[in-house]
Amino acid sequence: MLTIKKHTFKHGVHPPENKEETNKLPIRQFSFAPLIILPVSQHIGKPSKIIVREGQEVIRGQKLTASDGFLSVPLHSPASGVIRKIANVPTLSGKMTTGIYLEPFPSSTQEILEGNPIDLETASPEEILTGIQEAGIVGLGGAAFPTHAKLKIPEGKHCDTLIINGIECEPYLTTDHRVMLEQPDDIFTGIKYLMKATGAKRTIIGIEANKRDAAEFLASKLDGTEPISVQMVPVKYPQGAEKMLITALLGKEVPSGGLPIDVHVVVVNVATTAEIGRLLPHGRGIQERVITITGPGVKKKGNYLIPIGTPLRYVLEEVGVEDSISEVYMGGPMMGVAVGNLDISIVKGTSGIVVFNEKQVHRSAQVYPCIKCGACVDACPLSLNPSKLGILAKFESYDKMAEEYHLMDCFECGSCSFVCPSHIPLVQYFRLSKSIIRKRKSA
């Protein structure tokens, strides 16, 4: 059943969407790079342990690392090939981390290894969670938090509602949109696994109105007997944030400092759901993911299924970019990270690659003082006061920021910086302040 909602969460912004250029393009398979470089830790949590050695030949889908503890997931080989070396590799944050250099066999059939299938009918919730962990699944929306850990319902709490996040509010990105149009069966299988794992009684698939085709298509696959509904909400950034989506769909607020489970909800990204539905019946691990490559600097824009570990330089060479490119973002332009080194690789959390050339890059010549226009206050989806927080950050009043002005709730969506007429780098202030506050607390 498709429900069209008129109301959504408070505040928020409307950046130009720029999705038309790729939202009609079907997902296409990307070729293997001559050398695949896999950072071992691609998730939030404890890095996994390497279980292969240099010179070893591996099969596509074979585990290269094993999870080390609960908040840790394994890494699977994206291709059949040989491990050339295990050495430090650059990452998006600029830090070096341990990585595996894999050279795919050019003549291999690249068939995927099957593991221990998880049977939907007979598996217990715990077995499904283990299956999700063993499949190496993390939040594909960009957060890269191990999905099984998120699905584990804490003692004394229960889950009523499973929300499938098909919002994709970042401008330019169309991966979730294409996944919804092309992988409906995987999504519905994934939902069944997820409902069983969490004990949720109903599922809502949340989709923004700019993806009406996807909402109607998924709704048409339902016959009305399933406890699943599709809800279409007005377009507004950052609706893809869990808290905003819960408010938009259910009208509830997640308590400050709390998690969705505190209001009996679990939110899972739609591409992650499809991955669960596709991998678990075969006991396979994640080896590739859908990524939108777009932006004015890209020649062959599109939605590509790219093997994990493909070097960014190889990706950009394959799609072709203009000479005048000046910024490359991993993720969307609102929350994505600007790339400083093209030798980094595609990881599980990469949802998009957006390339801007000189013309699009806005380098504000001048930062003005805050004129207290209040644009940020009316943009912040959490109703924080970014203007005041920005001033407090300048005075290094970190305690006041955290205690009186709820800084730690900020999830850095960037709405405040987006609207600021003084071009104050508010999000940057808040990121820095948050890390200082965290350090002080742990010290």
């Binding site: 408070k10 950046p15 401008p171 808290k243 607020e253 997640v254 308590p255 400050s256 400092g257 709390g258 950009l316 060479e317 970019v321 000479d323 005048s324 490119i325 000046s326 910024e327 490359v328 973002y329 332009p333 609102m334 929350m335 994505g336 990270v337 600007a338 790339v339 400083g340 093209l342 801007f356 890059v361 806005h362 003005y368 003082p369 004129i371 207290k372 226009c373 209040g374 206050v377 009316d378 959490l382 109703s383 924080l384 006061n385 203007s387 005041k388 709820h406 709730d409 850095e412 910086s417 987006f418 609207v419 600021c420 007429p421 003084s422 071009h423 780098p425 999000v427 940057q428 990121r431």
Partner: protein
Amino acid sequence: MFKQTLHISTSPHLVKGSSVEVIMRNVVWAMLPTAAFSVYAFGWNAALVLVTSTLSCVLTEHVLCRLSGKRSTVSDWSAIITGLLLGLTLPPIFPLWMTFLGGVIAISVGKFLFGGLGYNVFNPALVGRAVLQGAFPVAITTWYDGFGADRFTTINSSLFAAPFMKPVVDGVSGATPLSAFKFDGVVANTADLAFGFVSGSAGETSAILILLGGIYLVARNFMNWRIPVSIIATVFLLSGIFYWIDPSKYPSPLFMLFSGGLMLGAVFMATDMVASPITKWGVMVYGAIIGTLIVVIRIWGGLPEGVMYAILLGNAISPHIDRLIRYRVYGTSLKSS
């Protein structure tokens, strides 16, 4: 391929595209019709006052920036707003040296002393005007009738009064509608008030043009419409109540709205973003307080006009309004926030 160096910046990588300079410039555009009308009504006299006050503010800002070793901030257009506003609050034959002094005080005391743009507690133009009112009580209440036949041929001699001499009071005539009402009980025609065919400060005459400027700014999203609306509504309601009680003693609400500096103050002065509260509810309270003060000062105060003091008081309490009235932060209960 990849000849260029990659630029690294932090998210968000998109901006909406407005800037302080654009906002300020548009406020100046919005004030121009009002300024033009005052020149039309009062001739070269008003033009000289406006040019002097604007030049004085811009020069002061530039010199102070240079003296303190900072880059000049004249290009952000905010000093021009202050200059124009100050000029519009002065009588059209206000001695030019006093006008110049007002601009210097507005920028130096009203703005620079507090830290420049963004840090001023009070609307700088009103600080300048308040000092002038205290220092030159006679000159600042020396009005001049508009639409004189010779307004584009002669220039009033009191404009060129020598500094620190007893001002030459020349061509004194035409009490403002507010003082006429307050001291003589004469009520002006509302239509004359609205269109600006009355005596008064250079810019406080044409309510219609001021409102048009305000509507332009609201339409472009450069002004918080709640401030003028709440001031106007409060003044209308409060004075309406008194008028209803005793129409012979109290002025009609329409007279209250269209006389004096109310429109200029409500639209262009109380809306100074820096000196007004930041939340939707905060600005409503702020507007209501200013509106109440205007009515109180006009009806019971010793002065015929109260807009300036009402706004200055509103500015002073604005930070406190922001401390008391905040949005409820997502996920918190009203009690804990």
